[in-house]
Homo-oligomer: 210 residues x 2
DNA sequence: TAGATTGTTAATCGATTAACAATC
DNA sequence: TAGATTGTTAATCGATTAACAATC
């Protein structure tokens, strides 16, 4: 089988982790790795590693294992990290600034084109070479530049309305840092929810006997 | 059944979302909700909602549904959000500052006790009432205050060593924002990985036909 | 009472694990 | 060749969905 028609989310979510571990292996000079060794590193089973990779093709060689550099490049291609898509940030508060300043969008397949905010104090400023525009000009910007995704780092309250407006402007994906669920069926939403994550940790500690 | 002996991670990860939706329902003045209506809101099935909640007890009433306020309080109790546990932050860069300034640890069941960094420029400063201490004093602080969890907002390179040191100091949970996997079996690790999440979105957009 | 909706058991679906022939 | 390890099929396990009796 060359490529599974539809790959499950469970597998997709492991892809960046595989890539990360292959990067690390590359850095320490490993040029091959077996499914058993990779599974041990990642706390998976060897079966799972082979099943996961075989959703996308045959990357290994019997009796040898996987070539680190080849698998690394293959995973980057599968994820689509080289053809950069365009992104905009909505909300230049503390978190928006942090992402502009310290996060590498390019390593994840995106290039950041502009930022938006409603606060006159930040509109017009430039953060890490990104100009902060007035949220009023969002539609105009979208018509002109057709950004692929939007990063939502604004308060939860205005988020659903902004998300809807973005989708109407042709946004394909939303990286949602707001503490609310977005009901946009016409766009792909990827949530990062700090509170949900920490509450989960709270529960896990409470119910463990550590 | 009063309480399932061990609840699956799939269910646990949905708990904060249930709580969030119950909060919203409470805010708009709803005093009851059926599993069908809650499922529609959350894009789940009614069956799943009932199965999920019944892992922890019987919170509904036949012919009526669930009382919003009662279910909300029950979920908060199940998650353990009231008995505040103590947290420390390791790494007061941009992200560490953002969390100190804008994130409500208390809403998630934690109280932030101290922050640590290796950089003399920030050591001794106070951010949102939290004193930034020298990472050299980490062991001393842990012995004295026994923090329950550590928030890792430091670079990936030193993270595994710091995590190990924290576990030796009795840390029970790690909220890991570093872009690396931690192999600490003696502590519960909750990862927030920006790059993994954005790469997943990259893949999903690439493979969708939006 | 009649209608609505839960709690719970059984059925289905999907993901993980095991096994092993193929082959480098 | 012999040993190692993949790709792939089959078996198992777990999670989701469906169904329905209980009951408010």
């Amino acid at each position: 089988m060359e490529q599974k028609s539809i790959v499950s989310m469970a597998v997709v979510r492991r892809l960046p982790r595989y890539l990360r571990h292959l990067d690390e292996l590359h850095k320490i000079g490993a040029d091959k790795i077996s499914s058993t060794a990779l599974a041990a590193r990642m706390e998976l089973t060897a079966s799972q590693v082979r099943q996961d990779l075989n959703c996308f093709g045959c990357f290994g060689q019997q009796g040898y294992g996987y070539n680190v550099e080849f698998l690394r490049q293959s995973l980057a291609d599968i994820l689509g990290l080289s053809g950069p898509r365009s992104a905009i940030i909505i909300g230049m508060g503390n978190l928006g600034h942090t992402l502009c300043n310290n996060f590498s969008f390019s390593r994840c397949g995106f290039s950041l084109g502009a930022a938006f905010d409603a606060n006159p104090a930040v509109i017009g400023s430039v953060v890490a070479k990104i100009r902060v525009l007035d949220i009023k000009d969002l539609d105009k910007y979208c018509s002109a530049h057709k950004p692929d995704i939007a990063v939502l780092t604004l308060p939860a309250a205005p988020a659903p309305a902004i998300a809807h407006r973005l989708v109407q402007n042709g946004i394909k994906g939303i990286w949602n840092f707001t503490n609310t669920d977005l009901n946009e069926t016409r766009a792909l939403v990827e949530n990062i929810n700090f509170a949900d994550s920490l509450m989960t940790l709270c529960y896990r500690i409470k119910t463990s006997n550590l």
